[in-house]
Symmetry: C2
Subunit: 496 residues, 2 copies
């Protein structure tokens, strides 16, 4: 299962109950001819050979695969508008696609939908270094936005492991979270304006650089996290933060999740404005990671039930170090924590982060893993992990080979109330699957949490929305979708 | 004009072109009887004597006055739901009302709309001091939310001059900005969940305390700033920030607005995470304020073209002071600024803020003022003030009595790109008015700014939306309103 498969099973075959909507037209030669009238050669890929379109049809996890033979890669908002207008009038279904790095099958076709890639819209439009407002095309790769802003003493207000591939428009369309949310807040606060092409080809452009605008409904908000179901984002205006001059980190061993919460409270009070990450990992996460990282020296002497990685970023290293040292010594003195390791330089800072960032690949290294991304009120955050472990243990599934489950572990962003649950397995079995689902979703629903904290809905979680949303909300979401896209041409078979 | 008038002119008389919508039913005895079946005595005021309903019918500025003789003050979400369901079915128009402190005539009836006051829904529902999530009824007065959170070492993420009267639900409904936006961001980022009663009585409740939730469209966002046109907010969940332990301020004299911008950049870089306000005032603002505050010693030796008030808030006073002192001395040494005064204690801190907070009453002290609230890209922020002054000067209207205009001044929140333009007058004249409008709005439109940065739309700016929004956006807003409230019973004659 760790093997890279050449291709995923066709989604249409893997999910035979999902049927192609017969209202959608099947692409024909006239359609193609029309697109060729205004798109250049490098703006259109037409091929019925699966290999030639594989990178567009198949998702990043190789779990879903569509059968589109037309990929359009327009270079301008006007061309996006012409494409959508035509598709809407002719009922041709369309999947908008950014960097195609999503984890829920949102950005690839299910059947023969035309793929509308934003990758050729990759220009930075404007930056004001005084206000920090940054405007760019939707297809700008996040890494490039980071690099540009870094060179101008600013930072893009979020970062993701997929930064080398994901695009700014995709990040906004999926309301991505990432590691900096605790400090810089969500995209609903940071996005200042959007340029969006509606299904009928109309362009709503409020891509201004204003921090405040109270002239009516904040229309851009609905497109943030809409996964391209009601319009295609072609331009983004976002607030960049000043680049911090000092970064630091501590790695801490803790006995209970209650103490993790108390330590978070202490950090909020004492590190306050310089606190930029507060991540936790349980014992199992680190046990897997110790095996995975083999020769890398572990930063603490003993093993603990929980580990916390705290990051600070500020404008003066000396001050940040003083605050962190005071924080660490008082936490040790009052026996709130058992031991802690404060990075002394950039190398140590990076090493501490390696222990956090290696948890997912470590869990995946035994064969494969079941993965959940959930948010809960902080007091309940770890309880879902305990409940799942208990359940798998009761069934006798966790242990040394030949038992199928190596470990069930929990880790995530304490500051955001977001836990990632990884069940590291030697093999995928129906028995494990049946124990996990719908149990996990029902558990989250009982605690009024979210079954998708940051990964979104896409194809994968469309049928699970009712665990986190009421019937009224779901009906309202369907109404909104229908209202914006009456022919339903945008990203069909997904979301709501 | 500074005199407090007993009552404003009836809006219906002042704006004869606005006609009552004949589709709306006129309240009758049966309606009243129905409301009395489930509302207690203290939840219903019915009177045709204007004095008895004046505080509900008339706005805070005494510019607008409605003629409602029924005020409903339900104590529960369920009762709000019953009220709206009945009104929707019977086409009775309704104005939702919070603290009735808005500045655009949004919260009072135009004709005989029933007033739905949230003031009896005033319970704090829940607070989690670890995550900082705060849940309350919509009718909780902002001052009480501040006090509660203050007692729990947190702060409400925004503050307003109207804090003693405005309500949390009203603040969210109008997307209020205030002085802390630079640090804590907008309500679109801070509001975690809302409980909203729709016009048909259905309750959409996602008043959770989750910081991340990517399960479909973020429905709550549309209600933030919707001014009660598509639903009535009855509950709010919001992220409270840790209470800063240290507050400090500097008052600075500057020669040009270019330098104001450069100083802001320097502050972003050097004060970065502790910067909590960056306010500017022009020479005229301070000249008026010096006259107004009379005996209060001015914090600087000389007069300047611009003044800046910088506030910091952080978790360690010693560190903040060091950063501020370093910032001030390097700004003086490099001659970026002419002089500055750093508060040495709380009294001095408060005194410095008095100079900023007294600008509006100072401008109003000569007789009255025309007031605009706009946002622009930072580079253009002050230009609107210069353009207006030039125009009034060219017409020979500014000067000593008997000239009607005392001064035209600009001040505001540099960090938010928000300028308040006050034209201090001895009397209101048609000539001034015709010089100001539509000139000011057209100027803002030409720079792609917002004609309402934080005050909203209401009755006052309904006709002006096209200066900041495109035809497509306005049509979309109308569609959304119609979609949520097909009978148009909520807050009619306003917004869009």
């Amino acid at each position: 299962m760790t093997k890279v498969l050449p291709t995923a099973q066709l989604t249409a075959e893997a999910y035979p109950k999902v049927k192609r909507n017969p209202d959608f037209k099947i692409l024909d030669a006239d359609d193609l001819k029309f697109f060729q009238t205004f798109l250049d050669n490098d703006e259109l890929i037409h091929s019925s050979i699966a290999e030639e379109t594989a990178s567009f049809n198949q998702d990043w996890m190789k779990k879903y695969r569509g059968q589109s033979n037309l990929i359009l890669l327009p270079k301008s908002t006007e061309k996006v508008s012409q494409i959508l207008k035509y598709c809407n009038e002719n009922k041709l279904a369309v999947v908008p696609q950014g960097g195609n790095t999503d984890l829920v099958g949102a950005s690839v076709p299910v059947f023969d939908e035309i793929i509308l890639s934003l990758r050729n819209m990759n220009k930075i439009r404007d930056f004001n270094h005084v206000s920090g407002t940054f405007k760019c095309d939707a297809g700008v790769v996040m890494r490039d936005a980071h690099k540009f802003l870094h060179d101008h003493d600013h930072i893009f207000p979020l970062d993701l492991p997929s930064r080398n591939n994901c695009q700014v428009g995709g990040v906004v369309s999926t309301n991505a979270g990432g590691l900096n949310l605790l400090r810089y807040g969500s995209l609903h606060g940071n996005v200042l304006g959007l340029e969006v092409v509606l299904p009928n080809g109309e362009v709503i452009s409020n891509i201004n650089a204003l921090r405040k605008d109270n002239t009516g409904y904040d229309l851009k908000q609905l497109f943030i996290g809409a996964e391209g179901t009601i319009g295609v984002i072609t331009g983004v205006s976002i607030l960049a933060a000043a680049k911090p001059k000092a970064l630091n980190a501590i790695f801490i061993g803790i006995d209970s999740f209650d103490t993790v919460q108390n330590l978070f409270l202490k950090a909020k009070n004492e590190l306050s404005e310089i606190l930029s990450a507060f991540e936790f990992m349980d014992r199992g996460s680190i046990e897997c990671t110790i095996e995975y990282l083999k020769d890398m020296p572990f930063p603490l002497k003993n093993q603990h039930n929980f580990y916390v990685l705290i990051e600070t970023s500020g404008s003066m290293k000396k001050h940040d170090d003083e605050k962190l040292e005071a924080f660490l010594s008082s936490a040790l003195e009052t026996k709130l924590i058992s031991e802690g390791n404060l990075a002394k330089n950039e190398e140590e800072y990076n090493a501490l982060w390696t222990w956090r960032k290696s948890v997912p690949p470590a869990c995946n290294s035994y064969g494969g893993m079941y993965k959940y991304d959930m948010s809960l009120e902080l007091k309940d955050l770890y309880s879902v992990s305990e409940a799942v472990t208990k359940r798998l243990n009761a069934a006798g599934l966790i242990g040394d080979a030949p038992k199928p489950v190596v470990k069930s572990v929990g880790y995530g962003h304490v500051g955001d109330g977001n836990i990632h649950l990884n069940i590291a397995v030697r093999e995928f079995t129906k028995e494990i699957e049946n124990l996990l689902e719908p149990f996990v979703y029902e558990y989250i629903a009982s605690k009024r949490g979210s079954i998708s904290a940051e990964h979104g809905v896409g194809f994968h979680k469309k049928g699970h929305l009712h665990y986190s949303r009421s019937d009224i909300e779901i009906r309202f979401m369907k109404d909104i979708r229908k209202h914006y896209d009456p022919n339903g041409i945008l990203n069909p078979y997904k979301y709501v």
